[in-house]
C-alpha cells in the first residue's frame, strides 16, 4: 500500500517534470537564464554593442 502511494506521488511528479521539459522544448525556452538579457550576466548594456552593428 505504502509502496503504491509513494509510486503514485512519484509518477505525478514525473509527469509535471516531463511536461515542463516538453513545454520548454516546444517554446525553445531555456531554464538557466530564461534566455533573457536581464538574467544573463548583467543588464543589456553588457551584451549590447555601442550602436547598431553594421549590416553588410
Amino acid at each position: 500500500m505504502a509502496t503504491f502511494v509513494v509510486g503514485v506521488v512519484l509518477v505525478i511528479a514525473l509527469f509535471f517534470a516531463l511536461r515542463h521539459i516538453y513545454r520548454n522544448f516546444r517554446a525553445g525556452r531555456e531554464d538557466c537564464c530564461g534566455g533573457s538579457c536581464r538574467s544573463c550576466s548583467g543588464h543589456c548594456s553588457s551584451c549590447r554593442s555601442f550602436t547598431a552593428p553594421i549590416k553588410k
Binding site: 505504502a2 537564464c33 544573463c40 550576466s41 551584451c47 549590447r48 550602436t51
Partner: protein
C-alpha cells in the same frame, strides 16, 4: 477613463530599468517582442484613479533601425497610440543622451525628459538648469534620482496631469525639424544626408546645452582615478586576473563552499536518513526505498548541494557587471583578443558564459561582424558554465581538498585559454574575413544597486533550482532504473544497462586514465545537461553513503575517498576527467541554441564533434604528460 499608455525609452545604463521597477513594482509581465528574443516588459500601476500601463523599451543609443532593439523601439513608438513617452536621460552624460531625444523629437512623439542621476552629474561637475532645458526644447522635464518614491510620484503626477498640453516645441526645435526635412528633400546621396542630419542634431544639442548646462571643472573624477589602475597599460591585466581570482576564492573557499558543505550535510545525512527511515517504517518496498534514496535524493541532492556555489558566483559576476568593470575588461583584453582575430567586446559574451552558454551564444549577436559572432558562438561552450561548476567543485573537493579553489580556477583558465586558442585557429581557417572594429563606451564606475544585483542573481540562479527539480529529477530516476535493471529484470549494478552503455563509452578513455563504465556513463549523460554528470556520480557512487561526521570540505572529501570513487580515479585521472568535462560536447540546449543562432544543423554537428575531439586530445595529453612527470 481609458488606461494611460506610457513607454520608457533611453540609452542603456541610464537607470531606466530601476525607474520602471519602482513605478510598477511587482505588477509586471515579461514576454518577448514578436520574432526576436528581446525582453518585452510591461508593468501596470494605478495613480489618482487612473490605470496606467508602462512599457519598458530596450535601451538604445539611437533609433536607426539597424539592430533588433532599435527596430523594436522605433516600430513601437511609431505604430502604437501612446499617451506619453518618457526619455530617461543620464544627466552626467547629457550630451550623448540627448541624441536619442532629438531623434525622437523629429518623430513628433509626446515626449517627456526624465533627468536621472542628477546627484551623480553634480559630482562630475555637470549642472543642469531644468527650467532652461524645458524652455529650450519646449517639453516637460522631470528630475529623478534612481530609486526613490519621491521620484516616482513626480513622474506619476505628470502622467496623470494635463501639463503636456501646455507645451509646444520651441522655435529651436521647429527650426531643427525644418532643417532635417530640407536635408531629406535635397538631392544628395543617402549617406551624405544622414551625415548632415547627424551634424544638425548635434548642432541643436550644442545650442541647448549651451543654454541649460554648465560644466564645472572638478578635476579627475573617481572613475578617472580608478581607471588609472584598472584600465591603463600592462598592469591592468594582472589586476583583472587578481579580481577574477578573488571571485573564485569567495565562491569556492570563503563563502560559497562553507554553505555548500552545510547543505550537503543536511541533504546527504539528515534528510536522506530521515527519508529512508520514514519510508522503511511505512513499509515501502525495498526497491522503492532505493529508488527514492539512492536514485532521486542522491542524484538531485548531488546537484542541489552546489546551488549555493552557483548563487555566490552569480552574485559576484552581477555585482562586477553593475560596477561598469565589464567594459574595462573588454578594453584591456582587446589587444589579446585582436591578435586572435576577435574583438575585446567578445569577452563580454564570454564572461556571460560563466553563467550559462545559452544567453552568451545569443549575446554574440551584439558583436559587430558576422565573423566575430560565429567564432564567439562556436567557442563559448568551452567555458565553465554554472552547470559544469558542480563537476569541478565536486572533483576538486574530493581529490584536491587543500587546493580546491586553485584547481577550479585552473579549470576556468583552461576553458578560457582553449576558447581563445580555438578562436585564433577558426579565425585563420574557416572565417577569414577582415578584422573588426572596436568602439565601446566606458561608463563611469557606480556602486551597483543591491536590489538589482540580488534580483539578477536570483533570476539567473533559480533556473538551476528549476532544472534540479525537472530534468535532473527525471534523469536521476532514469539513471537509477538503468543502473539497477537490464533487459531481463533486476540485476547487480555491474550487469545493468547503464554499465553496458558506460563500458562501451569508456573504451574511448583508455589513454585518459578514466576508462571505467561509471565515468563513461557520466560523460554520456552530461550531454543531456552538464549537471547530470554530478547526478550520475551521485547515483552510482552513492554520495548518500558518505558518513558525514566531516566538518569541512577537506574532511568530507576524505570520507568520500573511502567510497567507490576513490578507487575509480587517481588525482591525475580525476584532473584529466575534469579537463575533459570542461571541454567536451555542449549540452543539448546549448546545441539547440547554436542551431538557431548559427543557422543550421551543420554547425551543431560541427560543434558537437570538434569539441569532443579537442577534449579527448587535451585530456589525453594532460594524463600522459602527468604520468611521465610522475604524478
Amino acid at each position: 477613463m481609458a488606461t494611460l499608455a506610457v513607454a520608457l525609452t533611453g540609452n542603456p545604463n541610464t537607470g531606466k530599468s530601476t525607474i520602471f521597477n519602482e513605478l510598477t513594482g511587482a505588477r509586471q509581465k515579461i514576454g518577448n517582442w514578436p520574432g526576436v528574443t528581446v525582453d518585452k516588459k510591461v508593468g501596470y500601476t494605478r495613480y489618482m484613479d487612473r490605470a496606467i500601463s508602462i512599457v519598458d523599451l530596450p535601451g538604445t543609443y539611437s533609433v536607426n533601425a539597424r539592430s533588433p532593439e532599435e527596430k523594436i523601439v522605433i516600430d513601437y513608438l511609431l505604430n502604437t497610440k501612446l499617451d506619453l513617452v518618457v526619455d530617461v536621460v543620464d544627466s552626467s552624460n547629457i550630451e550623448r543622451n540627448l541624441f536619442l531625444t532629438v531623434q525622437l523629437l523629429e518623430q513628433d512623439i509626446p515626449l517627456l525628459i526624465d533627468l536621472n542621476m542628477q546627484d551623480d552629474a553634480a559630482r562630475r561637475g555637470v549642472e543642469i538648469d531644468t527650467a532652461k532645458l524645458e524652455e529650450a526644447f519646449g517639453m516637460p522635464v522631470v528630475e529623478t534620482v534612481g530609486r526613490s518614491s519621491k521620484s516616482t510620484k513626480k513622474l506619476l503626477d505628470v502622467f496623470t496631469s494635463t501639463v503636456m498640453e501646455n507645451y509646444e516645441p520651441s522655435q529651436l526645435v521647429k527650426d531643427h525639424i525644418a532643417k532635417v526635412h530640407a536635408i531629406r528633400a535635397s538631392e544628395k546621396t543617402d549617406a551624405q544626408k544622414d551625415e548632415e542630419i547627424i551634424e544638425a542634431r548635434y548642432a541643436l544639442i550644442d545650442k541647448v546645452v549651451a543654454k541649460a548646462v554648465t560644466f564645472r571643472n572638478v578635476g579627475a573624477t573617481r572613475s578617472e582615478k580608478m581607471d588609472r589602475f584598472l584600465a591603463n597599460g600592462i598592469l591592468a591585466l594582472p589586476i583583472f586576473l587578481l579580481i577574477l581570482y578573488a571571485v573564485f576564492q569567495i565562491t569556492f573557499t570563503w563563502i560559497g563552499q562553507p554553505i555548500a558543505d552545510a547543505l550537503e550535510d543536511l541533504i546527504n545525512d539528515d534528510f536522506l536518513n530521515l527519508a529512508k527511515d520514514g519510508l522503511e517504517a511505512a513499509g515501502v518496498a525495498d526497491w522503492m526505498v532505493s529508488l527514492v534514496t539512492d536514485g532521486i535524493i542522491a542524484g538531485v541532492g548531488a546537484v542541489l548541494t552546489f546551488v549555493p556555489l552557483i548563487f555566490v558566483l552569480f552574485f559576484c559576476l552581477s555585482f562586477l557587471d553593475g560596477t561598469g568593470y565589464m567594459a574595462r575588461i573588454a578594453f584591456i583584453m582587446d589587444p589579446i583578443m585582436r591578435r586572435c582575430g576577435l574583438t575585446g567586446k567578445g569577452i563580454m559574451p564570454l564572461m556571460m558564459g560563466f553563467g550559462c552558454g545559452v544567453p552568451s551564444i545569443m549575446g554574440a549577436r551584439a558583436l559587430d561582424s558576422e565573423k566575430d559572432r560565429m567564432i564567439s558562438i562556436l567557442v563559448t561552450p568551452f567555458l565553465t558554465c554554472g552547470a559544469k561548476l558542480p563537476i569541478m567543485a565536486l572533483f576538486a573537493a574530493m581529490f584536491f581538498p587543500h587546493n580546491a579553489a586553485n584547481v577550479v580556477f585552473a579549470m576556468y583558465i583552461i576553458g578560457m585559454a582553449m576558447a581563445i586558442i580555438v578562436a585564433k585557429v577558426l579565425g585563420s581557417t574557416l572565417f577569414k574575413a577582415k578584422g573588426s572594429t572596436f568602439l565601446l563606451e566606458l561608463p563611469p564606475y557606480r556602486m551597483p544597486d543591491m536590489k538589482s544585483v540580488l534580483l539578477e542573481t536570483w533570476d539567473k540562479g533559480k533556473g538551476y533550482l528549476v532544472k534540479a527539480g525537472t530534468i535532473i529529477f527525471v534523469a536521476s530516476v532514469l539513471l537509477w532504473v538503468m543502473s539497477n535493471y537490464n533487459f531481463s529484470g533486476p540485476c547487480e549494478i555491474e550487469d545493468s544497462i547503464l554499465a553496458s552503455i558506460g563500458s562501451w563509452m569508456s573504451k574511448l578513455f583508455v589513454f585518459q586514465g578514466f576508462a571505467t563504465w561509471e565515468a563513461g556513463a557520466a560523460v554520456l549523460s552530461g550531454i543531456m545537461a552538464k549537471e547530470t554528470v554530478v547526478a550520475t556520480i551521485g547515483v552510482l557512487y552513492g554520495a548518500g553513503d558518505v558518513s558525514t561526521e566531516a566538518e569541512d570540505a577537506a574532511d568530507t572529501a576524505s570520507t568520500m575517498l573511502q567510497t567507490g570513487m576513490a578507487s575509480a580515479f587517481t588525482s591525475l585521472s580525476a584532473f584529466s576527467f575534469m579537463v575533459f568535462s570542461q571541454l567536451y560536447t555542449p549540452c543539448v540546449t546549448a546545441l539547440g541554441t547554436i542551431k538557431k543562432e548559427a543557422g543550421g544543423w551543420k554547425w551543431v554537428a560541427f560543434s558537437a564533434v570538434y569539441m569532443f575531439v579537442i577534449a579527448w586530445f587535451v585530456s589525453l595529453v594532460v594524463y600522459q604528460v602527468g604520468r611521465a612527470l610522475g604524478f
